[in-house]
């Protein structure tokens, strides 16, 4: 009897064990049941106080069809208006036939007015979600957010990818934006006095929400473009920096190592690129006021010179001097401008917080002490790269 029992029962137990597994498939969702979100736009309706969210969902067949050039829409934008960020997924379920799939989104675009009010609840919502992305690029826009979201861009089919790629090129070539302008970098400084700069974009006025735009040869039309930086303290935007200031700000933070500069010597224009910029900061406390000594070292590359001068040691020295002087001036100007607006652009307050030792105790308590910082700037630079020309054509 035991033999028969054993023969019957072992398979039974095994079958039961398997049935645990086979009743599964709770989290299953096929790829073509997903609305792959590429870009998210957030705004607040000033009248109702509700949040407005735009989801830009990818249309896979549209993308593939585009490769075969029969111009179908690569993305669709959906708009929702709700009082809390968590309500959007529910709202989305009401109109999208597919499950919202935000794992792959490339960019968050936030309207300027919302950014100025503060983004804490959006940050918290995003960080709490299991499929959230915090290494996503954040953009602030001056343009109406509906226009940003309802724009087809040339070259890249996905607007989100397009602005992300644009942004990713900047640290390497122009220094107009930092690699560390992602959501997580803003998040990390939510409690510290440090400022962060987030890229500011604008959409060309002539944009149309129609896929026919993709047939137009004029690339500028209706494109998204980088226009500067939005300055963030904690979770809110406190001001706007133009491109030049963003470059300088990022250089001083050590996040940008290359900047492009135009110098004027004797009324002649001169384009150079400062490469491999190394900034050394030394903060000391003297009689209760912080002293910041900045030592900036850099290699210069001569892109274009129109001085009508031969290249020799003397010219080089002049270029070096001019650059040193101009950079020093700009930094001092940036500092002054920041002081007048209440922005600690040199990050002195953050440095103070990171100092150890008892002499810094008072300084740490005084939130405004950075305003009294004495600035000492030393710029050391050398022209290293000249291009392929030994002497410029003079045309004489």
């Amino acid at each position: 009897m035991s033999g028969i029992l054993r023969k019957r029962i072992v398979p039974l137990v095994a079958a039961l064990a398997v049935s645990f597994g086979l009743t599964g498939c709770w989290d299953i969702v096929e790829v073509n049941q997903l609305a792959i979100i590429n870009m998210i736009g957030i705004d607040r309706n000033p009248d109702t106080g509700n949040l407005i969210v735009y989801y830009q969902a990818i249309n896979p067949t549209g993308i593939i069809a585009q490769q075969r050039s029969d111009g179908k829409a690569p993305v669709y934008t959906f708009k929702f208006e709700k009082s809390s960020p968590a309500a959007f997924e529910e709202a989305a379920a009401g109109i999208m036939p597919r499950k919202l799939f935000p794992d792959h989104f490339q960019a968050i675009v936030v309207s300027r007015r919302l950014a100025e009010e503060g983004l804490l609840d959006i940050f918290n919502y995003n960080e709490n979600k299991n499929n959230r992305r915090s290494n996503v690029d954040v953009f602030i826009t001056n343009s109406p957010i509906s226009e940003v979201m309802n724009t087809y861009v040339p070259m890249e089919k996905l607007p989100g990818r397009s602005i992300r790629s644009t942004l990713e090129m900047q640290p390497k070539f122009t220094g107009r934006a930092s690699q560390d302008a992602q959501l997580r970098d803003v998040l990390e400084h939510l409690e510290s006095p440090e400022l962060t700069v987030v890229p500011l974009i604008r959409v060309d006025k002539r944009n149309t929400p129609n896929v026919n735009r993709l047939e137009d040869i004029r690339g500028n039309i209706g494109n998204l473009m980088l226009v500067g930086g939005a300055l963030f303290r904690k979770d809110r935007m406190i001001g706007e920096l133009d491109t030049e200031r963003v470059k300088l700000f990022l250089t001083l933070k050590g996040e940008s190592r290359n900047i492009y500069k135009e110098l004027k010597i004797d009324g002649h224009n001169l384009s150079i690129r400062a490469e491999n910029i190394r900034v050394k900061r030394k903060l000391t406390l003297k009689d209760g006021t912080p002293n910041l000594k900045l030592t900036i070292r850099s290699d210069l590359a001569l892109l274009m010179q129109n001085m009508g001068l031969d290249l020799n040691v003397e010219t080089m020295n002049r270029i070096n001097q001019k650059f040193e002087q101009q950079l020093t001036d700009e930094i001092v100007r940036l500092m002054e401008e920041g002081k007048s607006k209440g922005w600690d652009l040199l990050g002195v307050a953050g440095d103070i917080q990171r100092k150890r030792g008892s002499e810094w105790k008072d300084a740490k308590r005084d939130e405004e002490i950075w305003r009294h910082t004495k600035l000492g700037i030393e710029v050391v630079c050398k022209v290293r790269t000249l291009g392929t020309m030994a002497h410029p054509y003079k045309g004489e």
Partner: protein, 368 residues
Amino acid sequence: MERATISQWQFFIITLNFTLGTTFFIRPGVLIATAKQDAWIVPWWVGAAGLATAWMWLNLYRLHPGRSIIQICTSTAGKAVGGFFALLYAFFFIQITAWVTRNLGDFMKTTLMPETPISVFHLMFLVIAAYAACKGVETIARVNESLTLLLGFTFVMVVLFSLTEWEWKRFEPALQMDFWKTVKDTRSLYGFPYMEMISLAMLFPYVKGNPGKSLLPGIAAATGLLSLIIFFTIGILGVYRASHLIYPLYIIAEELRAAPFIEHVEAAIAVVWLSSLFLKLSIAFYCSTIALCDLFGLKNRSRIALPLVFLVSGLAITIMENNVVNAQWDMRYTFTYFSLFGVVFPVVLLVWTGVRNRFIPGHKEGAS
């Protein structure tokens, strides 16, 4: 019972995995929240305390060679009192198993598969752990050996690829903590994972040679690795974010970008790391099984493995409501509760043995 033996190296690996198993998922966030940028130092002193305690267990074992902690209880303090102690220990081991199971379920549910019922994760892992437990300690040791390599490899890769985010600034200002306050606030680390290691006292009899030779280095290595993990978490993620997250290491994996096309690989990495949880679970489960076998004098481990799966999977659901409640409980009670098993009982047993050896003749050789 089986005559199985495991080598020193295998026991070292087991110790390492048992200490780090769930710890490296759960502890860094809590520790960073308490000790801020100096959190990486915390494991050092707690580890030292853990080593001292483990040394005491080894002394107890030296007085009772070839006996598991359960057998030490019953042989020292007799059937009634010792049996009660042993029962408490068995209960404790089962509870640890349930805890590890629940940690796994919580992790899976909050990060990877929110729709799946939590019991599925529990049952799947428990069944495999039970299978491993039936196969015996040698099998578990070998599984440990083969998986540790893989785990180490993924961990190193993740850290290497995340180093682009590294900033030394995040450690400043260094050494600012209020030492005694931090010691007090991080005392639960002493309970979990260090006191939990009393489970390994069930395995001492199987180790070839002196188990201390691999237990103590194992604890030391685990402490070093824990400190290293916290160090990397601070350097990569920053104190502020790490202290606000439940699974900071998972977030590192999530934000990893090895190449423009290798992104969002957290699911794959998390799954590999889950095997570390499995190793801990299988060791804990095995310890509870043989604890019950030793306690009740059973011949065959595999007979109770399946009922134990049934019991533990139930306990894992009821053992805590959610992470928040658990975190609060952990802060307040872990130290006290775990020390009861890790320190108080062993000391009682040690004293008892000492007294008996001195005053009752014929008991010089422990109880052979």
